[in-house]
Amino acid sequence: AQSVSQHNHHVILSEAASLELGCNYSYGGTVNLFWYVQYPGQHLQLLLKYFSGDPLVKGIKGFEAEFIKSKFSFNLRKPSVQWSDTAEYFCAASSGSARQLTFGSGTQLTVLP
């Protein structure tokens, strides 16, 4: 069965620290990958997406993610986090032409000022 795993449930960082959130997927065939963010009290917002091409994807707010096919991974990174990055981050995937998203369990990021 298709699945997405996020092994970090809660990450706490100080401002200016570098961030890497792990995401692994289990899919056969073509996979499309996404990172969504949910700020406190707000709805899910798309940070970035990967369909094909350059495996290093740049998103909004200075985030980027790298698709590593051999590791079935799509980790989210940011070189220097800010207090305003405190939020829950969700990795999601869809398979080929199917559009339904399979979500990971989410990672709560807390950035201390």
Binding site: K49, L101, F103
Partner: protein, 111 residues
Amino acid sequence: EPEVTQTPSHQVTQMGQEVILRCVPISNHLYFYWYRQILGQKVEFLVSFYNNEISEKSEIFDDQFSVERPDGSNFTLKIRSTKLEDSAMYFCASGTKETQYFGPGTRLLVL
């Protein structure tokens, strides 16, 4: 920037009652979705809708669920006879072929 909106934000209902959750997708989107998140669990796909019909549905989306696009703007999810385990946050999304944009959710509590 246009957003997906959902009403109500919260709904409390008695077990066995029917509920209708409403969504207004972004106006030029053609694909519509419902997801739900039971407290403490992952966001789960329920159903997708395109060209006035269901295009994909999960095992969760059984006969007690239905979706409808009654007019050009609204997209509704109906639960015919609610069960305790239907208590969850229900998210609507609309999108293009590639990307989905989510609404703020409706928190449904079944007593």
